[in-house]
């Protein structure tokens, strides 16, 4: 089951390995004879890391794949069920709903924070006062420092019947709109999603701010001399210059959305009903409370493949063309 947490690091590692490979490709072609020995020496240096990787990433992944073909309670004897668990993952409405919810979360965990982060980053860049912009950065990054679990607990208070949000709504005369947000079948999913938005907005803003800092200032000067406004500047200079950073933001936050667990588990446990359940929570409940290790493993593998299928094209789309 460690594959959920492993996803992000695996992808980053694979991407890094790919880049390193590309860089080393050229000198290797020139001096073929020596490089063959060097290549094996390289594997030798990588051996300690490779062993750790095999033991802590590949072995659990392999067991997860193996378990996913069995009906097993985690303790007693197991029965081979072939692809039965996978069939169940794709036919059980609860499990399918979990997958759909995680896609809805992409809007809240990824799209809104990246769009909001872009706007915020450009606004902060325009702030002349250093003190004000530094303060803004600190406050925006604060949610990133707070553990998601703590944030989820705090937000459950905000969302509760007598919580800050409902008090505010009643104060401004919108008492009819006030409701126990996390207990409402229609509103619980977006309410949990907004916790995710709050969590990832700071990360996106800070990453994008760093990217904007790298854009050549003369480009901004040039478009301004050409009479471009704020929007023109955003689309002609900032966005193209931030291509790689936006790619990283979308990748990280999309994985966070698809593999979400902590926020949902602490805020709602997937309820009310199954209104906010996500694959991460279902895997946990199946594996640890229902003792259905096989089905939980199958769902974990499906989740891993889903993340790869979604994140793969994103990586390709945002790769820098040099």
């Amino acid at each position: 089951m460690s594959t959920i947490d492993g996803n992000a690091s695996e992808i980053v590692a694979a991407a890094a390995a790919g880049r390193a490979e590309q860089r080393s490709a050229r000198p290797g072609r020139r001096r073929r004879g020596r490089s063959l020995g060097l290549r094996w020496l390289g594997w030798l240096f990588a051996l300690p890391a490779a062993i750790m990787y095999a033991v802590f990433v590949l072995a659990p992944l392999a067991s997860t794949i193996q378990y996913s073909f069995y009906d097993w309670n985690g303790i007693g004897a197991s029965t081979w069920v072939g692809i039965g668990n996978y069939v169940r993952v794709f036919t059980d409405p609860d499990l399918l709903a979990a997958v759909i919810h995680s896609f809805v979360f992409i809007i809240f965990f990824s799209l809104i924070p990246v769009a909001g982060g872009l706007v915020t980053a450009t606004l902060i860049r325009d702030i002349r006062s250093r003190a004000v912009s530094a303060t803004a950065r600190v406050f925006l990054f604060l949610p990133q420092i707070i553990p998601a679990a703590g944030a989820a607990v705090a937000w459950t208070w905000i969302y509760s019947n007598d919580g800050a949000l409902n008090q505010f709504l009643r104060f401004v005369g919108l008492g009819d709109v006030a409701r126990p947000w996390l207990g409402d079948f229609d509103w619980a999913l977006p309410a949990v999603g907004i916790i995710g938005t709050w969590l990832s907005l700071g990360l996106c803003t800070v990453l994008l701010l760093a990217g904007i800092g790298k854009i050549d200032a003369s480009l901004y000067e040039a478009v301004r001399l050409d009479g471009a406004g704020w929007w023109r500047e955003l689309f002609s200079v900032t966005l193209p210059g931030l291509r790689a950073e936006i790619g990283v933001c979308i990748t990280i936050t999309t994985i966070a959305a698809l593999a979400s667990f902590d926020v949902v588990f602490l805020a709602t446990q997937g309820g009310p009903g199954k209104a906010t359940t996500v694959p991460g929570v279902e895997i946990y409940l199946l594996g640890f409370t229902q003792n259905r290790v096989g089905l939980a493993s199958a769902l974990a593998i499906v989740l891993m493949l889903l993340v790869l299928i979604v994140v793969g094209p994103i990586q390709r789309l945002f790769r820098e063309r040099s």
Partner: protein, 451 residues
């Protein structure tokens, strides 16, 4: 031309990497051997049964949930005073974690000697608990009668009868707490005993602008309200059979439908707190203690918590309402049952602890910690007029009526999360009808039991 990666342009260099990964995964699969979990059962202890624990120093370990840590620690201290050569070290996990970890802990190399279990039939199925029939005979535990029923598992792995796998040291059971001040306020001079009387009290409270019942639906505790009605309408035996997984047992019955429809009527009438589905258990305790609601359907375990949050004479406890004046008194109960690990090296000393749990000293400790002690014939003194006294007298009355029913959430290890929590939330949230509610629960039950 820049080198492209990906399916179309898989370079020659990536092939060795793929091969290495494939070999790595393949070899791990190979090493793991055949099917998971089939690598031999746990070695079972082979110490002959004896009630003599000698004078040699023996160290035992006990594993339990944190909710019972207070009473466990007190029991251990009491036992060690009587048996100075035996020391017991307790280790505790949060209650939900304990239930999940128990099978893993019992099958590990350093399994605890003693462990509390709420789903004993699962551990027995996996061969993790020692068969205690020998000790039952040697110590004469059979005088505990039906109190041991939940700790028995038959050869075809049905709970309720058969060999003994544990000894309960105390019981928790669920009933109805009421706020005395609010009861006076709405003129509730006699406490409701039947469902009709209870319903009339709910209507009076609602009319007076008081929340009639507060329930913690975030954890699916609306189930308590349903089961109280179910037990009253269906009777103790059919519900117990369902929980104990009797062949062809069903919860989709006319009596259950009456119960679900009654609950739905109460929900629709606004007899529960409006935010039931997002109310946590802790919040429900403190809000009841603060006088927000007239009733709270909760267990005996809530009394020590309420005693800290509210004045002791501000609330009381009654049995769940019955179906008509001559209806059987029922209540949902569970026992804290301690079994001995099949891997224990000191089963005789562990059994001495189980036997000591029947002593008056142990029973006083159990009661002082908010649990209902084993009934052995001798009575444990309680403070007159206290909630504890009501708890004990309600429990006695219900057990005398033969109305103790196990929690429906305990029918299988996963059914609470897979069915009771989401389905009660859906019923409270007006997403499903009472008929669908029962059908969905029964479907999950049959699915988990592989029927």
């Amino acid at each position: 031309m820049p080198q492209r990666r990906g399916p179309a342009g898989t370079s020659a260099r990536t092939i060795p990497a793929i091969a290495v990964t494939a070999i790595a995964i393949g070899s791990v699969l190979g090493l793991a051997g055949c099917a998971p979990g089939s690598s031999g059962g746990a070695p079972t202890t082979s110490v002959p049964v004896s009630t003599d624990v000698g004078a040699d120093k023996v160290e035992l370990t006990l594993y339990d949930g944190q909710g019972l840590q207070g009473v466990d620690d007190a029991l251990i201290a009491g036992f060690e005073k009587d048996f100075p050569n035996i020391t017991i070290t307790g280790s505790y996990d949060p209650d939900n974690v304990h239930a999940q970890n128990l099978p893993r802990t019992l099958s590990s190399d350093n399994a605890p000697d003693l462990a509390q279990s709420t789903s004993i039939v699962d551990e027995v199925t996996d061969g993790l608990f020692l068969d205690l029939d020998g000790y039952e005979k040697a110590y004469g535990w059979d005088d505990l009668g039906t109190q041991l029923a939940a700790a028995r598992v038959s050869d075809d792995l049905k709970q309720g009868s058969g060999s003994l796998y544990g000894v309960p040291y105390g019981f928790v059971f669920s009933g109805v707490y009421y706020n005395k001040k609010l009861a006076d306020q709405i003129g509730l001079t006699t406490l409701p005993a039947t469902i009709d009387e209870f319903e009339a009290a709910l209507a009076k409270a609602k009319a007076a602008g008081i929340t009639p019942i507060i329930a913690a639906g975030q954890l699916g505790l609306g189930t308590a309200a349903f089961q109280n009605l179910l037990d009253a309408y269906a009777g103790a035996e059919p519900v117990s059979d369902w929980v104990y997984r009797a062949d062809d047992a069903s919860i989709d019955t006319p009596a259950a439908l009456t119960a679900a429809e009654k609950l739905k009527a109460w929900i629709d009438a606004g007899y529960f707190n409006a935010d039931v589905n997002s109310t946590t258990q802790d919040a429900s305790y403190s809000r009841f203690a603060d006088g927000e609601a007239l009733f709270m359907m909760q267990g005996s375990w809530a009394n020590p918590i309420l005693a800290k949050a509210a004045a002791p004479d501000s609330y009381g406890f009654i049995a769940p309402p019955t179906d008509g004046a001559d209806g059987v008194k029922t209540a949902v109960y569970n026992s804290a049952t301690i079994g001995i690990s099949a891997r224990s090296a000191h089963p005789n000393e562990a059994a001495a602890f189980l036997n000591w749990l029947r002593s008056d000293a142990a029973r006083e400790i159990v009661l002082a910690n908010g649990n209902i002690p084993l009934s052995t014939g001798s009575s444990v003194p309680t403070e007159s007029g206290s909630v504890t006294e009501s708890l004990v007298s309600v429990f006695d009355a219900v057990s005398a009526d033969g109305g103790l029913v196990p929690f429906v959430q305990n029918a299988t290890s996963g059914i609470n999360n897979s069915a009771w929590v989401p389905q009660t939330q859906s019923l409270f949230g007006d997403q499903i009808t009472p008929k669908q509610f029962l059908a969905n629960i029964q479907k999950a039950y049959e699915d988990e039991l592989g029927r």
